[in-house]
């Protein structure tokens, strides 16, 4: 076998291994989305909420995420007492600060750009929620919205 063919075969094998590894990582971590955005033009995507890998908790909360052209709904089955715990179970948020001072800096991989005065607003049923996600107790059937806002 000449060097060229060997190189191509090794390249194909490397590509297949990488794709499989990525699929496995994705399957192990995918959130339970039921997006209504068609996931077009975004950097994120997800599986359906019927995902069997979605752990069954004793309560279900619905979180609607809105940013840029994206609007998606995530159903979370969780045992967490607070919204922060539920969101973190799905790797949906990143933030800074400790305890109740936790401040969301990114949702669904979308970072709020403070240079453009962007921030993540929590609302519950459309009403602005005055406590942070770490201080928000959740109950079965509740719906929250996480919306990227611009302007302080």
């Amino acid at each position: 076998m000449n060097k060229k063919k060997l190189g191509l075969i090794l390249g194909v094998v490397l590509l297949v291994v990488l794709v499989l590894a990525f699929v496995l990582v994705y399957r192990a971590n995918r959130p339970a989305y039921s997006g209504d955005d068609g996931s077009t033009g975004t950097t994120t995507g997800g599986a359906q909420s019927t995902d069997p890998s979605n752990p069954i908790g004793d309560k279900t909360v619905t979180v609607k995420i809105v940013y840029d052209d994206v609007s998606k709904t995530v159903e979370i089955n969780t045992d967490a007492d607070y919204l922060k715990g539920a969101l973190e179970e799905k790797n949906l948020i990143v933030g800074s600060g400790e305890g109740e001072m936790f401040f969301i800096t990114a949702v669904d991989g979308r970072i709020a750009d403070s240079g453009k005065q962007e921030w993540w607003c929590i609302t519950k049923g459309g009403e602005v929620w005055m406590t942070g996600c770490a201080a928000t107790e959740i109950a079965d059937g509740e719906t929250y919205e996480l919306t990227l806002k611009t302007g302080w």
């Binding site: 990488l18 959130p31 994120t44």
Partner: protein, 170 residues
Amino acid sequence: MKVQRLDIYRLVLLSLLGALLFVSQVVLSWLPNIEIVSILLITYTRVYGLKTLYPLYIFVMMQGFFYGFGHWFLNYLYVWLPLVLVALVFRRMTSPIGWAIVNAIFGLMFGALCSILYLILGGPSMMIAYWISGIWFDLLHCGGNLLTALVLSVPLHKLLCRLNDQLSRL
């Protein structure tokens, strides 16, 4: 004087190639992570080597002017460089399958490369969250890049070589 004329021609050509990158991105922006910027960059690198950095950074700057200089712009400053460097290493390769593999692996790694910025901005947890949340689109990017390179690598290379020869004869 002839050398100067050639340089000007090539400068204009490289600028137009940068504009072509930008237009191709805008035209295909409605498709999730399906793009021909990568195969164009590979083709430019095969023909022009490191001079590809001119059209590349014209493209990056035009992206900034068009979409605004958000944090993603920092990604764009470095994320295409590995592709150019790899294409430079393999620039003598003629196999479209070989280029398809290079292009596909780049598409697959795009999110991981972008996530390096978030390692600096928000630490490992932000980096991993960003990368994992985008894997689905990296897989799409991978498939799209595989197909675009399979279909376009040979004709684009021929076209650019012919254009380059014509310019060299001026």
